[in-house]
Subunit: 349 residues, 2 copies
């Protein structure tokens, strides 16, 4: 199932190779991108505003420069934006200011991508800086409870599920290098989707789980018998609160950054929990049973070790108008990129 | 901190020994109780309505008889009720019918205890059968996603946190053997609490976490991009849904059995999630921050590896009226039983 950077069946063109990658921001994910690529023999040039972080990165074999603009000037095939979300606008302004000189000098101009956990706000920031035409979003579903370059590892990303996001006018010339990077030296699997679908999906599987974990911890904190409750807490509480136990600021930043998608899902959750309380109060066994059975299709699919839903294999030709919609519809149905070439992307379950 | 069956400091009386234990119902917990006690050299006599289960128990070195009444007739020091909650009334009726003969014949009559995850409904059932005077509740915070004797293990219970529940008229003669059993051969630590406090605490740390895990799975099931969401699901979703992935009937039975305590906590959760959605919608950063910071005292305590709250060491003399209230107030504050004797129970953090 691993995608590789060669053409679709029958294509004779040269494989897509990403030879040089820029990384701006060497935190947990940016640092792990840099380490993984260095280990894979890719030429990496990286920057971070913190001198200690740059020194640590050099010790790990990562070539560093002093600024995001200098990374751009090195003309990497792909430049990976990995600063904290709050620092992104300043980084984008710096890149936008340096870009005209690069264009005027001629030669290849880097594709921009990122690793942020929300995609619509990042695209909005990139558009606001006038860089939207060469941007393709990316988000690896990876993370630990730690942060910073010190927590980054070369084995965090390989095997990881990535979402790669495109808009209605994304060029194949920008999508393909990002897919080649993600499914090649970074060792990931990729689904191509639109930003809104991505943000709704991660609200469901990441941000709302973080909120519910926080709420469980809040309920215990407010309980009269809090000491007893925590003393009796076993597996379900430990698992259910794990992601809420560290750094509430980081959790809050994730949730704030995807507020639009999170709010709707939280309102759904509040309504469902209230309805379950009503059903338990009223002794409405059918309604209670319906709540506990609602996930049966997913429960069965997860127990079988496969993701739920089906999606056929398909080849999407990138020279046909509307390919972005066809590719993102397949990605929303769970289809993974299995093969990429200059003319087409092949996806399959 | 491990409690042991000797007198309080200065006492000279003989240690409390539980030589024979009856187990009625050989599921996951009943089976694990039997296996642990057999391994500890305690004389165990057990029953289960299923002949295959009895045969498996005999293969594991557990002496079995044909019925709950026969277990009672063997006059164990403590009889552990471990049937499914739905089967409990019939078991209690059988024991109540057999008890008069035992009393008439003279000699010791067993103390009754149980291992159920809710305590008020069990005490109500025991009272309804006329057996309340000799009942002390018990609940080990242990479980796996499996069930049945086949999943039981001798290493499931040792080290486990138990709640032991008493009422206002519980006799020391009934509490002490149960504490001796739990903190002795079963290898657990015990907090003595009242039924309502226990049921509220396990709603918080077990039943509501199971409901929230189920709701996360339900939200993903209902999502348009369900296949994408499940494909992107990483640690927070996996951890947050783990206990909802197996046997919704068992989860439902737990929640139904503790509906009174669960309903209030669910209504609190629904209100908090709705308020957070409102705050995110309104851009009310202070309210959002307050939500994410509310658990900070518990977060700090958990990070330090200690349970939150404080409770002083104390000796509760069992010959002074009102000892039950004093002991359960300490248990609600998290105090663990550290020493038991015929005259007193010592607790400490």
């Amino acid at each position: 199932m691993t995608a590789h950077a060669s053409g679709p069946a029958g294509a004779t063109e040269a494989p897509l190779v990403v030879a040089r990658v820029g990384v701006v921001g060497l935190g947990l994910i940016g640092g792990s991108v840099a380490r993984t690529l260095v280990a894979a023999g890719v030429d990496v040039v990286a920057s971070d505003p913190d001198a200690t972080t740059r020194a640590a990165a050099r010790d790990a074999g990562v070539r560093t420069v002093g600024s995001a603009a200098e990374v751009l000037t090195e003309r990497p095939d792909v430049l990976v934006l990995a600063p904290p979300l709050a620092a992104l606008p300043a980084v984008l302004d710096e890149l936008a200011a340096a870009l005209p000189r690069l264009v005027a000098d001629g030669g290849p101009v880097p594709v921009l991508t990122d690793v942020g956990s929300v995609k619509a706000p990042v695209r909005a920031a990139v558009d606001a800086a006038g860089l939207g035409a060469r941007y393709v979003g990316a988000h690896p579903m990876a993370g630990t409870e730690e942060s910073g370059f010190g927590a980054s590892r070369a084995d965090l990303l390989p095997g990881c599920a990535w979402a790669v996001t495109v808009g209605p006018t994304t060029s194949p010339d920008h999508l393909l290098p990002v897919l080649a990077l993600v499914t090649g030296p970074l060792g990931g699997v990729a689904r191509v989707v639109d930003d809104a679908t991505h943000d709704a999906a991660v609200a469901l599987v990441s941000h709302v789980p973080h909120v519910l974990a926080t709420e469980l911890l809040n309920l215990a904190t407010a309980a009269p018998a809090r000491a007893l409750a925590l003393g009796l807490a076993a597996g379900s509480f430990r698992d259910g609160t794990r992601v809420a136990r560290t750094d509430p600021r980081r959790t809050q930043a994730m949730v704030d950054g995807n507020a639009d998608a999170v709010v709707g899902t939280l309102r759904d959750a509040a309504a469902h929990l209230g309805a379950l309380a009503d059903a338990l109060d009223a002794g409405d066994a059918a309604a209670v049973t319906a709540f506990f059975d609602a996930a049966d299709p997913v429960r069965t699919a997860l127990a079988d070790g496969v993701s739920a839903g089906t999606s056929p294999s398909a080849t999407v030709r990138l020279d046909e108008p509307g390919w972005q919609d066809r590719l993102t519809a397949l990605g929303a149905a769970g289809a993974l990129v299995t093969r990429i070439g200059r003319e087409a992307v092949v996806v399959a379950r």
